[in-house]
Amino acid sequence: MSGIKVLLFGAAADRAGTRETVISAETTTLDELWPILAERHPGLSPMRDTLAFAVNGEYARGDASVSPGDEVAVLPPVSGG
């Protein structure tokens, strides 16, 4: 029940058709989480190379560890200002 919470923003939320999803997984990495997310939301796949990720509110690289209870955010290119 305390899976990995995944938040999606902007174009990623748009392509996924949702703003939030929970993935049940043991401790893993962002790179290993991605195929699970992309399978669940195929519309995300073409965006892969443009996306950044955050773990618990801070930018993280693909080899960053994520565990149940963590919050992962899927971040398209930012366009504030």
């Binding site: 902007g10 748009d14 965006m47 955050a54 971040l75």
Partner: protein, 141 residues
């Protein structure tokens, strides 16, 4: 002051708050909704969303970077989210410094950094659909 707000930004009040007897310069940048036009369509408004509280924290980090690099005495960054109509302010940056050089440089730095590191996204809502800026994802054909 570092804030993400859903209401119009009172730029005059931010500047008034930044004016100090130990400063000779206040540089302000205001980003506003610009109406692009093409193929007979035009932008009707922008709509912003943020990943909070990460976005709030990134604004504060930019403020800290500025205070480390320049002699500034007051930095405010306010970003609006939600719908922002043409000509309205989406972001205001106000920097007070004893001298004008640092004030100009720091305010310019702030807007450039915002566009790179702060998790905020905008979509342009056109008369014929919308598009997420930077991702080219949307409903315009």
């Amino acid at each position: 002051m570092f804030a993400i707000v859903e209401e119009p930004i009172d730029v005059g009040a931010l500047i008034a708050d930044a004016q100090r007897p130990d400063c000779g310069a206040v540089s302000t940048f205001v980003g506003t909704t610009r109406v692009d036009q093409n193929d007979g369509a035009s932008v009707e408004y922008l709509e912003y969303e943020a990943y909070r509280p990460m976005a709030d924290r990134k604004l504060e980090e930019i403020g800290a970077e500025i205070e480390e690099r320049w002699d500034v005495r007051e930095v405010s960054i306010v970003h609006r989210i939600g719908r922002v109509d043409p000509g309205q302010a989406s972001v205001a940056i106000v920097v007070a410094s004893p001298r004008r050089g640092p004030a100009f440089e720091a305010s310019r730095y702030a807007i450039e950094r915002i566009k790179v590191v702060v998790p905020i996204w905008k979509r342009e809502v056109w008369s014929d659909g919308y598009v997420w800026v930077g991702s080219q994802v949307g409903t315009r054909t």
